[in-house]
């Protein structure tokens, strides 16, 4: 009986600890996460809030600036208002106009300011290009 009881207590302690940790994990992940949005959905962005923006780089919009690049993005399907973006840091090799990118940053005065080194350009795929045709 005593042993049985001890086991139960142990089980409860273990489960309790796991539950507590899981709750912490869940709670903080909502705080630490950044919302994923497309350019057209960033019109009503909260200033200073971090977003993860996914969009398509507009043709002929990439300009080199003193310490980074400036370009415009549209929604993934190429529609919607073009959103100006500034970014500094590593530009991945596949980055170019017309490609889909993911960038983390904030919206300031209608300009999306990317955090350094968060620019991700998707691997262009021969496969998906074929489907696009």
């Amino acid at each position: 009986m005593d042993v049985q009881r001890k086991r139960q207590v142990r089980l409860f302690v273990a489960l309790g600890a796991a539950l507590l940790l899981a709750t912490g994990l869940i709670y903080t992940s909502f705080n630490a996460s950044s919302e994923a949005r497309q350019p057209s959905e960033l019109v009503d962005a909260v200033p200073g809030k971090t977003y993860e923006m996914t969009g398509k780089v507009v043709k002929d919009s990439v300009v080199k600036t003193g310490n980074g690049i400036r370009f415009k993005v549209k929604d993934r399907d190429g529609t919607g208002e073009a959103l100006p973006v500034t970014y500094r840091g590593v530009v991945p090799d596949p980055f170019r106009e017309g490609r889909e990118i993911v960038l983390t940053g904030t919206v300031e005065n209608g300009v999306f300011v990317g955090e350094p080194d968060t620019l991700v350009t998707k691997c262009p795929s021969k496969f998906s290009e074929k489907q696009d045709q």
């Binding site: 630490a32 993860e52 590593v90 021969k126 496969f127 489907q131």
Partner: protein, 685 residues
């Protein structure tokens, strides 16, 4: 299956562009061994590779168990065949993923393999991962077979533990190669970026690690039966999920190769596997009872259980973070993502405790360790840890990162513990059998390959984690803009930008920066990071020098690796002036073609081919001329150079190699030999 692979590879190697997959992933210009590897850069080809490897491992597993487990093997075979059927079925019926789809008219040349994928790692990284994933099928199938046939003792585990170890080894090789590849590419986030596809490969790895430990408890003590079958089911499902994630485009990833049509099929397979296995486990709960209970928390089985929980916690964290975009969308309606810092925050503490357990585990005895026993094995490692702690505080900056300091200290504990165990056992053998210490260690190790292989793996992983802790905590990253002749100081290095370089290589223009790196007044390294601009191959750009800037670009980093630290550089060249000249030259070339060459062809269409070849040569000469002119003018434009100094990165690769050697030692020869011996013995009998 073999035939299929041979046909497709033959098509790749002989430039048979009537196969769609060949036309879209290869070209005449593609070097031969990239033609060979181009198969698995495509979706169709990678599915074929999966099925092909599955064929091989199932055959091996059935050959290995041909005289054993007679009531179980038929079921296991059925499971493996079922999965093979899924993949073949998918290729045949799943829409556009049939590798034998042909196209007409047959193109003259293919579009080529993406230059980013033309990297030596492409040859082995994907097949290694796939072999790892696929090898998990064997223990999974045998577990299911054991459940169905109600033979849930440790027999199925004994027959398939080799495959679990091999799966683990291949997964490790695949992961570390991917990591190494990513480290040398620009913009891939260094050796680890918590990218969904990276996570997808590390999740089954973690669970397989847990499984390899917990099956020992079942073998030795008859416990954790439900646990083990659940782990292998989870591990296999995660492997499927990994294959699926790479190809589905569900999550944003560098690896997401575009949305495809196979997603629903994969999800259904995962669903069937999970539901079917869960139902089986529940319906067999009565026979899955443990033979014994854990006697004490101070026993090896308890420590293994804790290590299992930690590994699963780690996997759960990674899983949660990876799928958070989907989870948050489900819960709140908005899709949110978690970045690397979140992963780091949660995985680091777990990793720290795991380092401790890689040392504690091997020292514990089964059932219960006595107080005297504990004192005997723990004293020296604890002293070593304390000494390391003090030395680190006194002589290094390790105190700046509390987690790194903890990992270093615990690593000292673990490494000492592993050596002490080896030493103690060898001393005992020497006493009883004589010989030298080294001979005793070797004879111990070959007698108990799994145990000593395990030690080596633990050692390797500790070294690897030390490398990760050091390089991630004490990294210096800096972007510097320099004109030729200028210098900048990064950490305790001085970087001097000597001169720009420009050459033409195959189908690319290579812009580079010649860098001289000094340390403490002495020359440390001469580096030449480059960026290559590949000519567009899809015919979208008009011919000319400017077309080099319409295709893909790839960076080649300049890296000086050392045991102490790595000096990593990449360059973002300034191509404005060259592009201006290129457009000028293209204009002149175009005008010449229109005025002088076009009339010739119009007058005599039969000359078209000769003329176009001549024009190609002329363009090539023009390109060389422009390059030479550009080089001789030594244009003084500033370029941006990224410099990363990270300590002890090399130890990550060293640790990985040690771990893989250990795993091979544990899995490979003895298993094979005993199996052979067993086979022969039977025949003789």
């Amino acid at each position: 299956m073999v035939l299929c692979v041979v046909v497709i590879e033959h098509a790749f190697l002989t430039d048979d562009f009537s196969f769609n997959v060949v036309a879209t992933h290869s070209s005449i210009e593609t070097p031969a061994f990239y033609k060979f590897t181009a198969m698995w850069s495509s979706q169709e080809g990678s599915l074929l590779l999966w099925a092909f490897i599955l064929g091989i491992v199932s055959t091996i597993s059935l050959a290995a168990t041909r005289h054993k487990l007679r009531d179980l093997v038929p079921w296991a075979t059925a499971v493996m065949m079922g999965i093979a059927m899924f993949f073949t079925g998918l290729m045949l019926l799943g829409g556009d993923v049939n590798p034998f789809t042909t196209i007409s008219p047959v193109p003259v040349d293919g579009t080529g393999l993406n230059p980013l994928l033309q990297h030596p790692s492409m040859i082995i990284h994907p097949p290694m991962l796939y072999t790892g994933y696929v090898s998990l099928t064997v223990p999974f199938a045998f577990a299911i077979g054991a459940l169905i046939s109600r033979r849930v003792d440790a027999a199925w585990i004994k027959s398939t533990r080799g495959f679990a170890l091999i799966a683990w080894t291949f997964l490790s090789i695949g992961i570390i190669l991917g990591s190494r590849w990513s480290y040398t590419e620009l913009g891939w986030g260094g050796y680890w970026a918590w990218d969904p596809v990276e996570n997808a490969s590390v999740m089954p790895w973690l669970i397989t690690t847990a499984y390899i430990h917990s099956i020992m408890v079942q073998e030795k003590r008859g416990m954790l039966k439900v646990w083990n079958v659940s782990l292998i089911v989870a591990s296999f499902s995660l492997a499927l999920l990994g294959t699926f994630l790479v190809r589905s485009g569900v999550l944003q990833s560098i690896h997401a190769f575009g949305d495809s049509t196979v997603g629903p099929y994969f999800l259904s397979l995962i669903g069937v596997v999970l539901i079917g296995s869960t139902w089986l486990i529940i319906s067999r709960l009565d026979i899955l009872r443990s033979d014994r209970r854990i006697d004490s928390l101070a026993s090896r089985e308890a420590v293994f259980l804790i290590n299992n929980l930690l590994l699963i916690a780690l996997c759960a964290i990674v899983f949660w973070g990876t799928f958070f975009p989907l989870i948050s969308e489900l819960l709140t309606g908005t899709r949110s993502t978690l970045a690397a810092p979140w992963f780091d925050r949660y995985t680091t503490p777990v990793a720290v405790v795991l380092v401790l357990f890689t040392g504690v585990g091997p020292m514990m005895s089964w059932r219960r360790i006595s107080w005297e026993g504990a004192k005997r094995v723990f004293t020296v490692p604890l002293i070593a840890a304390a000494v390391a702690f003090v030395l680190l505080l006194l002589f290094t900056d390790a105190a700046e990162s509390i987690w790194a300091l903890l990992i270093f200290t615990l690593a000292a504990f673990t490494v000492t513990a592993l050596f002490q165990e080896t030493w103690r056992a060898a001393a005992a053998r020497k006493k009883s059998a004589g010989g030298t210490m080294l001979a005793s260690i070797w004879s111990n190790a070959t007698r108990n390959r799994r145990r000593y292989g395990g030690y080596v793996v633990h050692l390797g992983l500790v070294v690897l984690l030390v490398g990760i802790a050091a390089s991630s905590s004490f990294e210096t990253k800096q972007d510097i803009e320099l004109k030729p002749g200028q210098s900048a100081v990064v950490d305790d290095y001085t970087v001097t930008y000597l001169n720009p370089t420009l050459t033409r290589d195959r189908q690319a223009l290579v812009f580079g920066a010649e860098l001289q790196v000094d340390r403490g007044g002495k020359s440390f390294a001469r580096l030449n990071p480059t960026r290559q601009y590949h000519q567009a191959t899809d015919g979208s750009a008009p011919p000319g020098i400017a077309s080099y800037f319409e295709g893909e670009a790839t960076s080649e980093v300049g890296l000086k690796a050392g045991l102490r630290s790595d000096f990593w550089t990449s360059v973002e060249p300034n191509t404005d002036e060259f592009q201006r000249r290129a457009r000028l030259a293209d204009g002149l070339f175009g005008a010449y073609m229109r005025k002088k060459v076009l009339p010739i062809v119009q007058a005599d269409p039969a000359k078209a081919e000769t003329v176009s070849r001549a024009a190609e040569n002329l363009l090539s000469l023009t390109t060389d001329k422009v390059i030479a002119g550009y080089n001789s003018d030594s244009i003084e434009v500033p370029v941006t150079i990224r410099v990363i100094v990270s300590p002890m990165v090399t130890w990550i690769w060293i640790g990985a190699v040690i771990a893989i050697i250990g795993a091979l030692f544990a899995a490979w020869p003895s298993g094979l030999l005993t199996r052979k011996r067993g086979g022969k013995g039977r025949k003789a009998a």
